[in-house]
Amino acid sequence: MKLLKALGLGAVVVGAVGLAGFWFLTEPKRLDAAVLASAGAAGDASRGERIFWAGGCASCHAKPDAEGDARLELPGGVALKTAFGTFVAPNISQDAVDGIGKWSFDDFANAMMAGVAPDGSHLYPAFPYTSYARMKVEDVADLYAFMKTLPAVAGRAPGHELGFPFNIRRGLGLWKLLYLSSDPVIALPADADPKVLAGRYLVEGPGHCGECHTPRDLTGGSRKGLWLSGAVAAEGDGKVPNLTGGEGGLGGWSAGDIAYYLESGFTPDYDSVGGAMADVQRNMARLPAADREAIAAYVKAIPPHPNGY
């Protein structure tokens, strides 16, 4: 009887410590004030437009199937069907009630680079902040300034449809400890070709190419050791191709071929882009040619792997 009581008490103590530990470990961590301050003066909206297209915000936050200028309206509504449930991209237009019109720069930067909402809760990584965390805070400031120039659109997108335990935002804290990092994926010497370095930034940061082209583990984290080697689509159907020079990959494509694909949507044998890449390609076509060339130079420089799916 005594023993049972002692055991019971022990379990309660361990349980409480575990809960406290869980609570502590899963606490949303905001960006350092020093990081935020380093953005300096107000961002530049015209520079921010380039970041907007590089980041592909319209692919998820514009109305499904919006074309042309309607892609600058961001009421959300695109549904992302994944193994964890369906995520629906929210309204990020300048609407003060339904969108992010009232968000400060600090709110915006914390969402983009730390996956933390203004109310302090974790955001789901279906919003690819795991890549955006590698962005320069100045670029996020420029993007913020550009988004301020976009229209306010009223109306909320439907909510996510997630089962337990994925509907508990707090649990994401553990996941973020494992997978959220602002470090580059591919180590390069500081004196590497500046084109390759610029490409690394665009691909690993705003371009978030790894979110689709890198295989994931069971919890949905990127398998960085198989970087860009292709994957079963995490959202929707089919396979996402291997971009490395390994078997099944892009060994036969020159840097010029990759840049031309991003510009025009045509492969070296003049097949055309399709699937989820079609929208990415339309975004890439809006970047300066030098950015597409940098992306291509980086893709040619990454370590080869056979197909990751």
Binding site: G238, S264, Y270, S272, V273, G274, G275, A276
Partner: protein, 142 residues
């Protein structure tokens, strides 16, 4: 008996014409790729601009594009081919509309072929947008 044989023959021949819509449409799609392959190197500046070559490639593309009859090439009974998506049949109206727009746009380009490299690049972009716009929802890498 003779009549029956004749009918059987007729059915077989009619069947042959559309024996394999999947093979037919794959061949048609490949022909589009070949025409774009004639234009690409000129648009990229790898080959000198040649108005006659551009006109011929666009005429061929148009001739083939007008053969794109969704009902004949994409009967539901044939199912998706190597890279087709089942969306084709759940979203048929959009699929047909995209085929029609593609045919109209290519016909317009063939009727007024681009006169310089810049115009050709714009034409390539416009046609490529049609290919990618349709492949976005109706093709999937398997």
């Amino acid at each position: 008996m003779k009549k029956l044989l004749l009918t059987a023959c007729f059915v077989a021949v009619a069947g042959l014409a559309h024996a394999d819509p999947v093979a037919d449409r794959e061949a048609l799609m490949k022909s589009f790729g070949r025409s774009m392959g004639e234009l690409g190197p000129i648009a990229k500046g790898e080959k000198a601009f040649d108005a006659a070559a551009v006109q011929t490639a666009l005429a061929t593309l148009n001739e083939n594009a007008q053969k794109f009859d969704p009902a004949v090439l994409f009967p539901e009974s044939a199912g998706p081919g190597e890279s087709g998506s089942p969306n084709i049949w759940t979203n048929w109206a959009d699929f047909e509309a995209r085929a029609t727009k593609f045919k109209t746009d290519v016909a317009a380009a063939a009727a007024a072929p681009p006169a310089d490299v810049a115009a050709l690049q714009a034409t390539m972009g416009m046609i490529g947008g049609n290919c990618g716009g349709c492949h976005e929802n109706f093709r999937v890498k398997k």
